[in-house]
Symmetry: C2
Subunit: 280 residues, 2 copies
Amino acid sequence: MHVFEDFNSTREYSVKARNSGRWVGLVPTMGFLHDGHKSLIQKARQETDPLVVSIFVNPAQFGKGEDYHVYPRDIERDIRVLKDLAVDVLFLPTVLAMYPDEYSTFVEVERLSDVLCGAFRPGHFRGVATVVLKLFNVVLPHKAYFGLKDVQQLVVVRKMVNDLNLPVEIVGVPTVRAFDGLALSSRNAYLTPDERKDAARIYQALSKAKALIEAGERDASDIKEMIQEYIAQAPGFSVEYVSICSFQNLQELSSITGEVVIAVAARLGKARLIDNIIVG
Amino acid sequence: MHVFEDFNSTREYSVKARNSGRWVGLVPTMGFLHDGHKSLIQKARQETDPLVVSIFVNPAQFGKGEDYHVYPRDIERDIRVLKDLAVDVLFLPTVLAMYPDEYSTFVEVERLSDVLCGAFRPGHFRGVATVVLKLFNVVLPHKAYFGLKDVQQLVVVRKMVNDLNLPVEIVGVPTVRAFDGLALSSRNAYLTPDERKDAARIYQALSKAKALIEAGERDASDIKEMIQEYIAQAPGFSVEYVSICSFQNLQELSSITGEVVIAVAARLGKARLIDNIIVG
């Protein structure tokens, strides 16, 4: 596996592959890889060659007071994981190379960035869109893979790709869950053992909601109330939002119709957990 | 010459050329071509093959009350001009294809977009950066050509390319002037014959400024005052700004040192005229 810090080596590798008719894949990550990442990489490995994985904890998508400085990192272990998965290139840019002094260009995907998590993390999706565009411009992938756990990120990136006419195909990959349903996330490392047990309530609530919809329930506010109450039964939880919205444009729905996302964000101890289910 | 309205034909043409090792050039224009455009195209023609010219009057870079709807257009004549210049592809997208319903993604080059013309045309350079990025993503050029007359546009686009790691080289091409020094611009068509005579004052003032600097003058405010007064001697003129700033980052200078831009924007009748000289 090549480990490239610099942009030119990465791009040259990709251009060479493209010129010989190969199909370049990219899995952008912030590292501290878990089975959710592995699932993305395995999917990408099946569909593209060469496969580039990037690891970059992107300061532009963390707000003030968020966990940028304590975000878990373990690059040695990540490298072993990526080698085992037969990844061709690890792209590992430095913060200074990505955001040199006087850096000043940002991409805004309006409307989609201001709802759900965007309402609680101002500037987050601007940082996400910007770094993803930069990674695309360096790695020049044909296909890029994003987890459905971060559904708003997927929708924002897809919209950016469409709006900006980027020659990249975006692939959404299903969420990987622990034995009890908790969506895998690097941030689960923040949970104490007791909190970790309670954390499963999010997926349990989402599953109940899905069952209700499949049984014919169409009133979004009733379902949201049920989710909110079910999660809040564990006293450590503080629910940030429960949303039932269109998968296409994240618009909040009062009546459930079409392909909808049921999404939750909640704080538990030091962790901010998000999860969602897509129904319909 | 191919005339492509749709994005896929344009991109496929470019990808095919790239794959056979050719060097794709792009000259983005808003049409109503004059000798300034011709100069860009001739430069690009020497350095790239195939050469794509785009014509798109970009609504996103016009503010409310600006001249979007009356901006001069003559596509039949433009096509003849481009054929004479041996252009390979005219890319002629529609407004609806560029900005479909619910379009919502914009690129901001902060700081550089708020000074000079940006201070008088809020949102203008956001529209410019966004459309240029879109054109790059469709045409996939190796090199793109911009006139130095629109120096702030050139600086903003260059900054965007650096910040976003775009694999495109930006080439600035010297301003083409009429017999009396007036910078060629599609908007000169708005001038009455009397205004057209007075319009030459801008370049005359810039030339005087250049001579003063070359004679050793270093005080920016003295020079700016001279320019302002010289232009205002023609009573129809209303000067928007006179700036002496760094070519690198457009920061206003009090003392003249290094490569500086002397830039002017002024209204005359129905036209808003801009021009500049680079000294040093």
